[in-house]
Amino acid sequence: MAYILLRDLDIPDIGKLDVYTTNGGWEGFKKAVTQHTPEEVINIVIDSNLRGRGGAGFSAGRKWSFIPKNEPVKYVVVNADESEPGTFKDRQIMEKNPYQLIEGAMICAYAIQATAVYIYCRGEFWDLAHNLEACIAEAREQNLIGQNILGGNWSCDMFVHLGAGAYICGEESALLNSLQGFLGQPRVRPPFPAQKGGGLYYEPTVVNNVETLANVPWILVNGAAEYKKIGTPESPGPKIFSVSGHVARPGNYEVPLGTTFRELLFDKAGGTGTNKAFKALLPSGASGPVIPVTEQMLDTPMTYEALGKLGSTLGSASFILMDESTDMVWAAYKMIKFFKHESCGKCTPCREGTHWLAKLMEHVIHGEATMLDLEKLENVAKQMNGKSLCALNDFAINPILATLKHFRSEYVAYIKTPAPAAKPKQPAPVKKQLEEVAEPAGD
C-alpha cells in the first residue's frame, strides 16, 4: 500500500511543488475551497475521527469546531516544535514532503476561516525552516496562499517562526507565548487557545501538530469513510512511529494504528540487530512510562487504548528501545536530567522537583545513596504529581517511577551504603505540635 504521510519513500521528489501537484497534491485543498463550505470541511474531519498526533490524541475536527465563527481575526498555528527525545517524524515530513503539511494547514485555515497560519518550528530545524519558507513562497505565487486564494474572497498568509531551543514550547500555550516574543512558559487556562483571549495574540487559534495536519489532504480527497478503514475504529488512520535506540534499522515507520509491536519492532526495525534481547521500551519518548518488553506484549496491537492498558501511553509514538545491556538507573538519570534542563521554572513543583530528583539520582549513580533515598525519589515524585500547570511536571516523574517499579533491583545494586537498621533519628515532630496549636484557631 502506498504511503499516505511518508510519501517521499514512494516519490523521492515529492518536496518539489510541481512533483507534489502532479501526484495529487493540492487536490484536497482545492476540493475543500471550491466544493465545500468551511463547516462541511470541519464535519468531514470530525467524521474521519482523525486524532491529534502530538500526543494527547484529541479529535482534530472537534478542535476546529470550537473556533467562534464571528471573530474577525483567527489563527492556525502548526506545532512543529518536535523536541520529545526519540521523536523525529515531523522533521521527515517537513524536510521531505513539506507541501503536504502546507496543504493540510491551509485546509484547516479554510475550515476556520483563519487570517494567518504560523508554523512554529523548533530552532534547530534551521535548514528545513528556511526551505519551508521557500516552499510557502512558491505556493503563494500559485495563489494557494495569500490574497484572494484561488480567486475567492478568502485571504490567508502563512509564515514560519523559528523557536530557539526550548522543549516546553511544544506545550501549546507556551508555544503561543514564545511566538508572541515572551518566555515560553505555559499560560493559565481557561481561556483556551480556541477562545477569544486564549490564542495567538489572544485571538481564537487552532494549534495542531505537523503529522495531524499532514493527514488532512488525504481525508479531503478520499473521504472520511475511506480514512476510517485504515487502523482501528477508535484510532483510525496511518501513524508514523519513530523508532530509535537499540534497533538494527532505526527510523520512521508509517503503519496503521493497531499494527502489533512485533511487526514494527522486528519486521520493520529489524530487532536489536545483535544477539541481545530487547529489555524495555519507551513508547512515547522520554515522557511516557517505560514498559518491559515481553513476548506477550509484542503481540499487542499498538493503539492509544492498548498502550494505556500496558501502563504507558502512545503519545507521539516515539519508540526508544533498550536491549538487555541497558542500565535502567542510568536511563532514568539521563531522562530526569533532560526534564530538569527543560523545566521552564514557572511552577514550584516542577522547578524544584526536577532539580531534586536529578540531585537524588546523582547520589544513586555515584553510589552515595542509601535505601532511604529510593523512598525519597518516590516521595518527591508523589509531591510533584499533578500539581503543576502543564504536563512536563508529570512527564518528569515517569522515568523515575516506572524504572523503580519495573527495575528496582537495579537501583538496589547501586546502594553501597548498607541500609541503616532503623530510620535515622528525625528531629522532634514539630509539625504535630504546630497543628495542635493551630487547630482550634483554624476551625
Partner: protein
Amino acid sequence: MLAEKYAERIQKIFSKYPDKRSAVMPLLYVAQEEFGWVSPEAIEEVAVLCEIDPTQVKSIAGFYTMYSEKPKGKYWLQVCTDFPCALRGADQFHQALLDHLGIEEGGTTEDGLFTVEHVMCLAACDKAPMLQCNFHYVENLDMDKMKALLDQWRADAKDSAAD
C-alpha cells in the same frame, strides 16, 4: 547598526507579525549572526528595534538555549547526548571529540575555531551519533568522519581568512 546593515531582512521579519514584540526571537538570530553572540550591544539594538526594554530581550536570550550570551568559536558544535543518542554511543563520541580537540565541555579551542557543547534531543535519534554545526545537521558520525570534517572546517576557515 543592525537596522542599516540588515534593513531588508529586518523589514521582512516585522512584516510577518502584527506585534513588534514577536520579532524579538528572529532579530536575536540576526544579531547573533552579526556579533557572533548575544552581546550587550546586540541586546540593546534588538530592544530599540522591538520598542521594549533591553531587560526583556535579555530575558528571551537567557531562556532559549540557541542564543549564546558568551562568545563562541567559529564553529559551534552541539553534540546531542540525550537518551536515544546515548543508547547509540553519543556520550563516548562527545568525550572523544573533546579529547581530540583538547578542550572541556563547553570550551572553545585556542585557535577560536571550535566550541563543543552537549545538548538535548535534536530530533535525529535515528542518525546518532550526530551534532549540529552552526545549526546545520551533521549525522551518522564516528570519530574518523569527525576528524575529516574538522580538517575540512579548518581549511575553510583558513580560506575565508585569506579572502
